[in-house]
Amino acid sequence: MVDKTTEIRSVPLERRSHKSSFIKAVGAVVWKDLRAEFRSRELFSAMLVFSLLIILIFNFALELDIKTRQSVTSGVLWATFAFAGTLGLNRSMAIEKDRGCLDGLLLAPVDRSAIYFGKVISNLAFMLIVELIVLPVYSVLYTVNLFQPGLLLVILLGSIGYAGVGTLLAAMSVQTRTRDILLPILLFPVVIPVLLSAVKASSGFLNGADWEEIVLPLNLLIAYDIIFIALAFMVFDNVVEE
């Protein structure tokens, strides 16, 4: 079975710049997550079904007239994205932990923040795909036009912040036995600034508010995204190490 002559070649690790191997590692993590998810559809289908159920429940529970629907839209949307996002973040890290793959990732000779960024990008991709499906369904159910460039920008920025901080906290909570319960408990208080800014900016775009009203929450959202991701970038190594 084992041919001892097959392993004669010494493998010199490629001497590339730190930046190049960092980008390569980020790409590898994203490729691996998307490839595995494409096969199993475990995470994506759970997030999508959960999101659709939430907007359906809100639709039946609130029984709103057309005017009021417009005013609750941003709240309902962000509640849906937040809950579905948590589900995805939990599962995404649990997949790494259950078969010891997180150790496999941490053993690679790359800056560990490359693993963080890879996971953020794939978590963000899953969130955005789910959101792209949820938006037209919501538009039909609530008869609200959600395809406005401003609103789509807010959804993108809010999702970046959510995935950024969520991935860090998921990496933290996955080490514990109560990871399923712990992640939302840790995440929701921390992510409140992102959600508040996102809801405010979304409402502004949906209600046709003046740019002056929208620009403050939009700037806050950008600032939170930068702060959270920079903070996560700095502490991720310590979070994943025993």
Partner: protein
């Protein structure tokens, strides 16, 4: 190749390792034996840079942990009782993924070489979740040596394997060691350790309580040495 001095590891108030001194020369195959809870896995996790020591010095291939962890990781392969493989990727995809993480050139060629070495070339396009435990463990060894590390750490590699799978794993382990690599393996299986290792260290109550080379063990057998080390 590996030098550990006065290594202490504490988890809260609990001290797992109480001043371990350990040295391995290049090309040695050391079996680290000991009862459950002796700290073998903790020790290997520190050597593999997955856990930080509370006190003491750890040097691997001339690099100090934890400060030069990336350099150590580039020269280290680790096989644990968990496969560290993705069930929803094929054998080939798993190796390609880790190859990209290690920045290995000619990845296609290297992946084929490794799959041939572990006897899984014919299953390269099959999903890992369809593999038996033994096949997964062989692929895990392939993953660990993909970047041709100088040091390979095995943490209980025989856990959960049946007799046939264990025998196959023996062959793969011999191939890995035959290339002059430094190997440290923890195991409960004394017979297999005796067959493979060139030195035997006993880790008991958080310290290395005894050490003997294969030559030194000629007069007595490993089981007697092991029992004696635990009793002392």
């Amino acid at each position: 190749m590996i030098t550990v001095k006065k290594l202490v590891k504490r988890f809260g108030l609990k001290t797992i390792l109480r001043g371990v001194d350990f040295e391995v020369q290049p090309g040695e195959f050391v079996a680290l034996l000991g009862p459950n809870g002796a700290g073998k896995t903790t020790f290997l996790r520190i050597l593999s840079s997955l856990s930080r020591p509370s006190l003491g010095d750890v040097m691997i291939a001339g690099y100090k942990l934890p400060h030069e962890a990336a350099q150590v990781r580039a020269r280290l392969g680790v096989v644990s009782h968990l496969p560290l493989l993705y069930g929803d990727l094929t054998a080939n995809e798993n190796l390609r993924f880790y190859g990209r993480m290690y920045n290995i050139p000619d990845l296609e060629l290297r992946t084929t070489e490794v799959l041939e070495m572990v006897g899984l070339e014919s299953r390269r396009r099959d999903l890992v979740r369809t593999f038996s435990r033994g096949m997964q463990q062989r692929l895990a060894i392939g993953r660990a040596v993909l970047h041709d590390p100088d040091v390979v750490l095995f943490d209980e590699p025989y856990t959960g394997l049946d007799q046939d799978a264990s025998s196959m794993l023996d062959e793969v382990l011999k191939t890995v060691a035959a290339k002059g690599r430094t190997v440290v393996m923890t195991s409960h299986d004394l017979a297999r350790a005796e067959d493979l290792a060139t030195r035997f260290d006993i880790l008991s109550r958080g310290v290395i309580s005894a050490s003997a080379s294969r030559k030194e063990l000629k007069k007595t057998n490993l089981l007697a040495f092991y029992k004696q080390a635990l009793a002392s």
